[in-house]
Symmetry: C2
DNA sequence: AAAAACGTTAAGAAAAAATTTAACAAACTT
DNA sequence: AAGTTTGTTAAATTTTTTCTTAACGTTTTT
């Protein structure tokens, strides 16, 4: 009967979706993904399980692009592979729980930051100690070594704190302090 | 007297420094800066105030590169401009307080995420409501609109929580819950 | 067993980003 | 006021990244 109205409604629906997809893609640069991957995630956020062909039709891109994009999204736990009875194609669903994505992503990154830097600090401090303890070395060099050593030691407080922050996120303890939906 | 030993000590000092600079640069990808900017920050982390010419000599890069790199580091509050009596050159110092950098950076990014997405959600929900309330529209369209609306409404809990997380970081209240140097 | 479907890798093309040299504008010296 | 110094912008180049087409290996269907 009122086909025109339904047509318009359908377009409005698409538009409303696109507005959100666009802003999700835009802010996902913080997660270090390409705009394309961001747009893919945004699309999946509003869709059911998608296979690679459906993704490529949706974004009008090639299949290999979808393959790599969906893998990077998997790497940061923003999409998951599932099974769909009947079809032999891989299908993927977006992780819609932003808390999960947030925690998973940043904890991984922060862990890495702590690990890499603490390792290099350990190496550096060993060398610096050798210089500091050798009285035959020019005093201004030894003083510099001491300065660097102290600065690195100070920075450990941060890495320690970050480790505890990650733990609090991972266990969910953070939500005792800062509850969801206060 | 023992020039050789001092020479070796000096090299060891440089090496120790470089190890840390390298790892800082490597992990700073999370902050969305180029490797060059990361290396510049790492260098400044161990130096006093530097001007553009000193930076270019240190990193063996061009002056305009240093100019843009130092600006991106300023944008994320990882270096600050200071004044040095006598010289008319701009000099910059690295922010050595990692807590400050951390909070400043992520709060800015998270604020942006919240702002952009909440704005688009508001737009989208308005459109969706129009469809939901119009009984002349095909019911399956209206149901889809309802589904999207609910999903967006749900996501607001996350943005609300993120807003409170940012507030807690900004005020320093987070440190009551998770103290530095436990 | 041959053919088709599916996902990935490889190679090449296109697009984007980073870097350098050159040119410029403003502030300072003499 | 002419000439320097300093930082930035502009244009051109190089490098890196992204994306597509083509080829491949595996699994499934017929």
């Amino acid at each position: 009967m009122d086909q025109e109205k339904d047509q318009r409604a359908s377009e409005t629906l698409e538009y409303a979706k696109d507005v959100v997809i666009q802003s999700i893609a835009e802010t996902m640069d913080l997660y270090g993904v390409t705009p394309s991957a961001g747009k893919l995630y945004g699309t999946m956020y509003f869709s059911g399980p998608l296979n690679l062909d459906e993704m490529k039709d949706e974004l009008k891109m090639s299949k290999p692009s979808m393959s790599t994009a969906v893998r990077t999204l998997q790497d940061i736990s923003m999409v998951h592979k599932t099974w769909l009875k009947g079809s032999r194609k891989d299908v993927f669903v977006a992780e819609k729980n932003f808390f999960k994505s947030f925690i998973d992503f940043f904890c991984k990154k922060w862990d890495r930051e702590v690990k890499i830097n603490l390792e290099s600090i350990a190496v550096a401090q060993q060398q610096l100690t050798d210089i500091m303890n050798d009285e035959e070395i020019l005093s201004h060099l030894r003083e510099t070594a001491q300065t660097y050593y102290t600065q690195l030691e100070e920075s450990k407080k941060y890495y320690d704190w970050l480790t505890r922050l990650v733990a609090s996120f991972r266990t969910g303890e953070i939500f005792d302090y800062l509850p969801i939906e206060e």
